[in-house]
């Protein structure tokens, strides 16, 4: 099952490599990963998505918790949560396809952020599923380039990951 694990860690050199290293060392998968400092500059927040059964996820969270630079973590998928990913997708846009792509982008609440005579670059945010659905929806058009940010997430409502 797909999980989103959100980690609060010390904003120190080497901390990220320890987390990433743990996954390769113990044979776990990372499907996506985002990391940046938080409002408290001494902390970084890292969100990663992984796939595993319950016992694998239990081991992953326990092993992550053992890392000295990991301050706190939460498996967001255990409760109600928000999940967002950003995608920039550059598409071949010529002739009638230009209008069609504009319409599709609007339906997905995407924005065209760069235009040339033959290309559109569309920015889209949402869950990974929504981004996948957009890619599927424009599959009739040649895709020139895609970049995705990886998932970021938060617990809904009162649930907070902080010190």
């Amino acid at each position: 099952m797909r999980r989103i694990i959100s980690i609060l860690m010390e904003n120190e050199a080497g901390a990220l490599s320890r987390i990433v290293g743990l996954f390769s060392q113990r044979g776990y998968n990372i499907d996506s990963l985002t990391v940046a400092p938080t409002d408290d500059e001494s902390l970084s927040r890292l969100t990663l998505t992984t796939v595993g059964d319950d016992s694998t996820i239990e081991q992953i969270t326990k092993q992550l918790n053992k890392l000295v630079e990991v301050v706190k973590l939460v498996d967001l998928t255990e409760g109600a949560h928000l999940e967002r990913e950003l995608m920039l997708i550059k598409l071949k846009a010529v002739g009638a396809q230009r209008a069609e792509l504009k319409r599709t982008a609007d339906i997905f609440r995407g924005q065209i952020v760069d235009v040339t005579s033959t290309l559109y670059t569309i920015q889209l945010t949402g869950t990974s599923d929504k981004l996948d659905a957009f890619v599927e929806a424009v599959s009739g058009v040649p895709i020139v380039e895609v970049v995705r940010s990886g998932v970021s997430g938060l617990g809904r409502g009162e649930k907070v990951l902080s010190l």
Binding site: M9, E10, A13, G14, S17, R18, G21, Q25, S55, E58, Q59, K62, Q63, N65, K66, V68, E69, V70, V71, L163
Partner: protein, 573 residues
Amino acid sequence: MELLSGADMLIRSLEDEGVDVIFGYPGGAALHIYDALFRQKAVEHILVRHEQAATHMADGYARATGKVGVVLVTSGPGATNTITGIATAYMDSIPMVVISGQVATHLIGGDAFQETDMVGVSRPIVKHSFLVKKSEDIASTIKKAFYIARTGRPGPVVVDVPKDITNPADLYEYQYPSSVKMRSYTPVLRGHAGQIKKATEEILNAKRPIVYAGGGVVQGNASELLRDLVHRLGCPVTNTLMGLGCIDGRDKQYLGMLGMHGTYEANNAMQNADLILAVGARFDDRVTNDPAKFCPGARIIHIDIDPASISKTVRADIPIVGPVVQVLTDMIEAVKQLNIEPDQAAQQAWWKQVDEWRAVDCLKIKPSDTELMKPQQVVEMLYKVTEGDAIVTSDVGQHQMFAALYYKYNRPRQWINSGGLGTMGFGLPAAMGAKMALPDENVVCVTGEGSIQMNIQELSTCKQYDLPIKIININNQALGMVKQWQDLHYEKRHSHSYMDSLPDFTKLVEAYGHVGIRVDRYEDLEDAMIECFKMKDKLVFMDIYVDPNEHVYPMQIAGKSINDMVLSKAEGS
């Protein structure tokens, strides 16, 4: 406040941490630190012949005393040579601090002479590591390193120190921190009271309980408490390879070691138990055999300081995360207060069954069909001659299993071996570290002609520092455990398991300035060994030739249950 250079601060920090001895080898990036060492008296430095041995010595020192072992090496090859020793300590949860020199900060990343990314190279095998970026951080980093190494589940910590950070020309205010607090590192201090009570009730109500205790009891200094609890419960108890000694090997309730080469009674009692109390043990694959078939009828209570050890391979029904000392203390208190009368009839029936397994006498030495001595006889004789009281280190292989099975350890920290990583070359330096720590004890290294050659250069260090350890070289002229597996699983194709062109070990040790004794016949063994231990001030190397075809039994059948085992060579082949 005092003004000190980075190098002086580093050594002073060790002194203030209470370190009396470190094991190391100098080199370019560590020269400022070595100069600081030269100008003081508080911290003794043992000059090894190879950095790997320094880590094993620090490790042996730590295992014998419970204190943190300390290593000092230079950058590059000095640092990489410590890797095997760090991994050994990591797998067995041994507190260790390894200080490595590093090239100057401005050279890092430029492929400088003797540059290695030590923090990166050691990352998967350390509890934590530091790259010191400012001289002002030295004292607090050393404080943190020792705190992390010895608290919680202990382990090795690397402190990588660039050369410019230790520059003798730059002076800084020095004060060693009195305490350390890290928001991201808070070891568990208490096990859950409710879980402890619930667990105790289940143990007292069990019909076929067994206690399975491991290295965590030894490292956690909880052997006395475990013995108390086991005697109150009156149930059988078994030890892992790492736990040997936490129960007296002569105790009536003790069934010996369990696992791959465990005793018939221990493995059968585990498989047939209705309740297993696991204390500081981690259900390692060398214990469980196939985890899916492991002890199907047993409820499992698991006490461990490391939450990640719990339900890793075998699911625990009642997990208790906490220090063994505190959990066992509370458990003993709960036994007193709960006032639950154990089911006498059930206990008697359980012991009757256990005694039947015991009667198989699985460790009985089978009569030799040749003139040659059996390796088991050597360990048995060692037990007799040392009156069961020596500190025994071992290397890895058949001799390790014989030393584990045929020497009855009566106290914790008496048995020192590389259980998790299985590091050949561990035994000699570990014995040296133990002897450094406990000079009045008889320290014996049980080894083989394969393992001993992996760190034999340390015989020179033994001479330099006058370490009169005893080396029992069980010489079967083969890599015995490899050969055993080849006999059993590869139709006796002995691919590279022979030791051709062995040196004359007695001459070799004499060249290093020690005493060598060769024994070929069992009739000569006792006298020779008595003579060996009479030479209290000398390192004596006993080169004992044994049957090269002997196997270690009992032995589990791979992929089956814990108690599916072969008891003899006749049965095995």
